[in-house]
């Protein structure tokens, strides 16, 4: 957080307008090497838009996104619709856009816990397998910063807990920073160094415990009585809202 190292990515005064809607306004923050930062926020709060602005898929209407020179990004999108007419094995997917050696592909798949999926068609994978393959592909470029958009979408609770452990593990081995978007508040709290609560702008940010007790956060996510318990209850309250279908509308991205 207060590390003196040059930040990997610095956002200053970032504004993004999609159509006529100002999705992000005045977003400032920086990501330091090696930290795990999670962005939480309600649907339509601009979480995915923020990630897309960082990778350069959206041009800001004001402010700037600065990458550290030579920054290597590993990005796993929230959803990836692969048209059924496109035949694509996991192995071939890993080699897009840069061809990779068999050894590198195997290593990345093993890292992501997807070692047995090499020859499978992408369209035949389950939700959890798909997320692991996306992670493997993101790891292939030996990234300085992993960007993961709702990486546990469609996983059950043990599955997503395992996925977060995997991410912590990957961070330890690769020494990369991780910026992820999530809606699973209580799991995220345990797995992050820093949490950013987003609702068009940065409502509050800091260590998980700090954010969980911040009034801005409570206003967005519920009025429970105390820290972790409130978060658990929140998760329960909204369990029915978390079907994958609901989340396809997330953020109103074009």
């Amino acid at each position: 957080m207060n590390a003196p190292a040059t930040p990997l990515v610095t956002l200053s005064g970032l504004d993004v307008t999609l159509g006529r809607q100002r999705v992000l306004r005045g977003v400032d923050f920086a990501i330091s090497p090696g930290e795990i930062v999670t962005i939480v926020g309600p649907n339509g709060s601009g979480k995915s838009t923020l990630l897309r602005a960082i990778i350069g898929a959206i041009r800001p209407s004001a402010g700037s996104v600065r990458h550290k020179p030579g920054l290597r990004l590993g990005y796993a999108p929230q959803r990836l619709h692969i048209d059924p007419t496109l035949p694509l094995t996991v192995r071939r997917f890993l080699g897009l856009p840069k061809r990779v050696t068999d050894a590198a592909a195997r290593e990345a798949l093993d890292e992501a816990g997807a070692g047995d999926l090499r020859t499978r068609q992408m369209s035949d994978l389950s939700g959890g397998q798909f997320q692991r393959v996306l992670l493997a592909r993101a790891l292939l470029g030996k990234p300085d910063l992993l960007l993961l958009d709702e990486p546990t979408q469609g996983l059950d609770q043990p599955g997503s807990a395992a996925f977060y452990r995997l991410i912590a593990d990957v961070r330890r081995r690769y020494g990369c920073a991780v910026l992820m978007v999530s809606h699973e508040l209580h799991v995220v709290m345990a797995a992050s160094d820093r949490v950013i609560c987003l609702n068009g702008h940065v409502c509050c940010e800091g260590a998980p415990e700090h954010v969980a007790s911040a009034p801005e956060y409570r206003a967005l996510f519920g009025t429970g009585t105390g820290g972790a318990l409130a978060l658990y209850r929140h998760e329960h309250d909204h369990a029915h809202d978390h079907s994958p279908k609901e989340h396809t509308h997330d953020d109103g991205c074009a």
Binding site: Y75, P77, L96, P97
Partner: protein
Amino acid sequence: MMMAVLDDFLVRAALAGVGVGLAAGPLGAFVVWRRMAYFGDATAHAAILGVALSLAFSLSIFTGTLAVALAMAWVVALLSGRGLAMDTLLGVLAHSALAFGLVAVSFVQGVRIDLMAYLFGDILAVGRIDLVVIWGGAAMVLGLLAWRWNALLTSTLSDELACAAGIDPRRERLVLTLALAVVVAVAIKVVGALLITAMLIIPAAASRPFATTPERMAVAAAAIGALSALGGLRLAYLADTPAGPTIVCVAALFFTVSTVLGLLPRRG
């Protein structure tokens, strides 16, 4: 003597058909993957307008159709995302372009007789210069696709994945648009404006059931396109049917057979 002449125009026709099939197959795979079939139609139908303009201004047909196909792509890009659903927009543009093209052709003297040739192709009338244009265009399209292959595939999967890898998806879209315009411009002589989309889509769709990677699908589509051209020409010669539509019929047969085989339970 007669036989030599006969051989010659059939050889030229075969070469023209194979050239178009080889280029249209792999490009057609992208048209299928990216759901650009309607876009292909709009570009191809606009070619009739291009023919009218070429004749009116004494340009080569290739130049005129290429220019109008590119203009059409530009108009589509300009109007897309402004309230109309994409298929509605493309439907409006494709059929308007065709109608305006047909009306424009009627103003140009002495073309009415040839209209059928531009709508359905006139492969048996392919000359040496046409062959050079067709093979030059085909080589350019295949070269573009080979050069941009991984970038094109990545941006076909997702714009975000492309951006994160430093690929500009708009540039890749432009590459495909340009390739499509070139294919339309060279294929109008072979299968005609109305059936160009068929040569793009049918071989690609026919190769889908047995392809496991994008590369195999593209190669198979090229092969099926070329074989359809040869088979269609042969059949048209034997049965005295119009060559362009017969080529498309053979491609459709390939599609039927491969789809049926693809539905059979796999062994092992």
